[in-house]
Symmetry: C2
Subunit: 570 residues, 2 copies
């Protein structure tokens, strides 16, 4: 049970602020993340890591000498926005380029990937390493489909040590990929976790039983069994990992990770058995760690990570570091970084909107009005969308959509009041949505709205042909960014028939009202039809299928929004 919070939606941001207040000797707060507060040499490669919150010490606790330079924090179990990633990277960059490290989840891949593109366009050299250590999430033959769990810390430690040693970006990227290919993790869960503000746990494990291979957001495991004595649990974990032992490896790094409610003394008990097993297999364990490294709120369970060492990896694994969560050897003396300006505040603001002609300003008011209707709808449907999403995902879709639309409404109003035109107002709303909603759906709605805006003008109200073209452009952009196709159980399943019907019926009738209304109806049916289908895109989505009987929340919310907008058309 997550118990201590004020407004649940502020949980992640407030926790980050508290962390930064306590650990000022390591970090300085920036918006949506932290950067080192200690002096970093110019030209050093910056290792920037991140992901959703709720996993402390992942990721802010990894920042310090010999490990990460900065961490980006999304909302609880939700990817940080593209803008957040880019912002933290800019604060951390010292001219040596950036290695972006994060666990392999669709939302993070999307947001970090788009941010990398933006930063490259600004002239920064940015490389990406997704961590894929969870052996239970996909077979050995398709490592790129594996999730990233506690191996995150191992891979980041290796990259951080290489960067601290002064290696160039090419070398840091190479060794980080190498470490990822030799890092394997398997976990078990004894009990679920509860999101701040939620009344029920995200999932439960029956008392006296355990889920094997469960992910860190409650993704289903590969098997369920009786909870085992420590000796048998140690055997189960080590045997699964030893299946992937590369030939000739005799030395391993090890990380025994508690997920939250499983305590240190339990981990120490388990470690005695794991150490026996590894030794019996002829493996020498180098600098093992047991503790909380990647948690899942108050989830009960643990995972074992092994790093198959070679000479290069061993020297980086044992290299000194000094962070809130991990300390090794004699870390070089840290000097406080110069400057202490508060970098966490809101930036920019309405950087002045050009005043649009009368028609464009009427269009802007219409956009703002539309977002008002959308925000009201999504506030009302927040709990329902959350429940639908919880069947197959991590239950945060309702929260993300509510937050995104509220932010978009604010931005659209501000733009409209400042005299901006239709397209500019929609673009401002799109950026606010992407930045504030977080997660996969936040990123996708940002992309969707931005592409829509590109088909509109600042000189006219949104009408007929431009709207139909905008919808088509938005669909294309979403499919490009998300990589999903019809049948993958995402909002695309509802969006494709919506645009097809809108296109066809507008061509036939010339009435946007009629075309849009029919299209929205078809989208609603398509959303319902996502229920009995198979895997879909999304952060923390199951690989096995849990969502039978439940439609996809992203498709449902898209159809709802289409219906509400249709009702406003005249």
């Amino acid at each position: 049970m997550t118990t201590i919070f004020d407004a649940p939606e502020d949980f992640a941001a407030t926790a980050l602020r508290g962390f930064a207040a306590l650990y000022g000797r390591y970090v300085r707060l920036v918006r949506n993340g932290v950067v080192r507060s200690t002096r970093t040499p110019e030209g050093k490669v910056a290792v920037v890591v991140g992901g959703g919150s709720g996993h402390y010490p992942a990721f802010a606790g990894y920042v310090g000498l010999g490990l990460a330079d900065a961490a980006v924090a999304g909302d609880v179990f939700a990817s940080p926005s593209t803008a957040a990633v880019a912002r933290v990277c800019r604060a951390a960059h010292r001219g040596g380029g950036i290695l972006l490290g994060f666990g392999n989840y669709a939302g993070d891949v999307l947001n970090f990937g788009v941010a990398a593109d933006e930063l490259r366009a600004e002239g920064m050299d940015v490389r990406i390493v997704h961590v894929t250590d969870d052996v239970a999430s996909a077979p050995r033959e398709t490592p790129e489909k594996r999730r990233g769990i506690a191996g995150d810390l191992v891979v980041f430690k290796i990259a951080g040590a290489a960067a601290e040693a002064g290696h160039a970006l090419d070398a840091v990227e190479r060794v980080a990929r190498h470490a990822n290919s030799r890092t394997v993790t398997v976990g078990v869960a004894f009990g679920g976790c509860t999101l701040p503000g939620a009344r029920e746990p995200l999932f439960t494990v029956q008392k006296g039983r355990m889920a094997v291979g469960l992910g860190i957001h409650g993704e289903p495991g590969v098997a369920e069994s009786e909870a085992l004595p420590a000796a048998d649990l140690a055997r189960l974990l080590t045997d699964r990992l030893l299946e992937e032992r590369p030939a000739g490896v005799t030395r391993v790094g090890a990380l025994l990770n508690g997920l939250g409610a499983t305590k240190y003394e339990e981990l120490f008990v388990l470690w005695t058995r794991i150490a026996e097993r590894l030794s019996a297999e002829g493996l020498t364990v180098v600098a093992p760690e047991a503790g909380e490294f990647v948690t899942s709120l108050d989830m009960s369970g643990c995972s074992l990570t092994l790093l198959w060492l070679d000479e290069e990896l061993e020297s980086l694994w044992t290299a000194p570091c000094d962070t809130p969560v991990l300390r090794r050897g004699a870390a070089p003396q840290a000097l406080e970084a110069p400057g202490s300006e508060d970098m966490s505040g809101e930036e920019g603001g309405n950087a002045g909107f050009a005043r649009a002609p009368e028609a464009g300003r009427r269009g802007a008011a219409c956009i703002a009005g539309t977002f008002e209707a959308m925000a009201a709808l999504l506030r009302e449907k927040e709990a329902e969308l959350g429940r639908i999403d919880a069947q197959a995902g991590d239950g945060d879709h309702g929260q993300g959509m509510a937050r995104g639309s509220a932010a978009a409404l604010l931005a659209a109003r501000t733009a409209a009041e400042a005299g901006a035109g239709t397209a500019t107002t929609l673009r401002a709303a799109a950026e606010a949505w992407a930045d504030r909603a977080g997660g996969t759906s936040g990123a996708l709605w940002g992309v969707l709205l931005k592409a829509f805006a590109a088909e509109l003008s600042d000189d006219a109200e949104p009408a007929g042909e431009a709207v139909v073209k905008g919808a088509r452009a938005a669909l294309d952009a979403v499919m490009r960014a998300g990589g999903a196709k019809v049948g993958d159980k995402t909002l695309v399943d509802a969006f494709v028939p919506f645009v097809d019907v809108l296109d066809a019926r507008f061509a036939a009738t010339g009435s946007l009202k009629i075309a849009w209304t029919e299209a929205a109806e078809v989208a609603g049916q398509a959303a319902e039809a996502t229920a009995p289908l198979s895997p879909k895109l999304g952060r923390a989505r199951p690989l096995a299928e849990r969502s039978i009987g439940h439609p996809d929340a992203g498709a449902v919310s898209l159809a709802m929004i289409a219906t509400v907008i249709g009702a406003r058309l005249s």
Copy 2:
């Protein structure tokens, strides 16, 4: 739920072994504890801390430069035995004397106190500081009745810094007492904890509610309320502590402690609110810490500790230290201590028993037979005694008695087989019981049996008068050591009438069988009669009265044992 273990009774010892295996750079395992593995100057005051297990990082995680020199670990929620405390102190002593630090619980006061006496008899200078920081456990006017909770770490940190700075024992003791008098803590619990191997939690807190002032073993709180938002919870905690703010204090050290299942991010959220409150009260917070410092297995909840600083305390609070759980500033470089002999094995063994005459050897066999019956009884009644104890104490009485009697049986058999006489065999059993059972009852039964043995001879079987005198001597010793009187709801309540009846009826009838049987019956009635009474001696006992309707487990087990022994008399 405590989930990972093999044999529950080995949980604490195995966890300690695993901890030492992982943290060899800080500690070396000794029997029942750890000592620093780094070099310590001759003549330095040794700060030795300890208490029950289940509270990691208390107490093994406190060992390292600038903090403790060694830690003694009892079983889960049970005081370490007198022998364990003495043993660890001997391993840590560097000629500068010893400061013994522990939380104020009856079992620890007893075991550490007796150990201190033993060590003083060996010529060591030993001082004791009980930590009494829990403001909810007794009024301000009787600080000596307050329990020690998370303030343990604060007081030990101050003492450790003074010792590391080279201060003599007098000065270290003085500043430790001063720190204790200025350290206050208040805690809340949202949910209970489960002992390894137990099927049900030790206590529960209703969902959505919280217990205010709950102790770290489930001792009842002072109030119950709705679980509060972070801002209100911060106000509740700080306001209670500010009631005890000494005049003129403007600077405080602070420790926000998670009890196990409450996560770091929740603590960080709460910290932002606490910091606001303290600042509003004109207090400057110095080097605050938030994390897990004194846990209670998987208990959900947290506590806030404040240290009212003066110049001396501030310099010690901020002094460098380097331990598994707490690191500050640039700790002096540690050098590995010389020698690496395994100090954790069994010591001594049967150091050779003098062969007793025939009658004494028959007496030894009789003693061994008696312990066989006692061990069988206590194994059978283990769960029942645990249940009775759980009503008012921490539920470990059955486990402790079973473990103690099993160890005593083994020692008695070994002595008897080696040809030892009656008294020597009983003394060997007494020592084994005290050393292995742990907790208050283990210490008391050790004292009881040792005093009994002193009235027996190695040349004769235990008979009539000697047994009656032995029982009286045992009772006197228990009352001296435990400080309890009739009516305090301890085993004394059954023991006093037992000895009185035994004495009187033996004088009247001359039959030990008759006298013992009648005395055992009276003891049984007296044990039952402990049910509706008020506070009693014992580790982790409630201050309020929870045990109405339940007899005292210590009195019950004493009466049971008396009955079983009576049945063996002829």
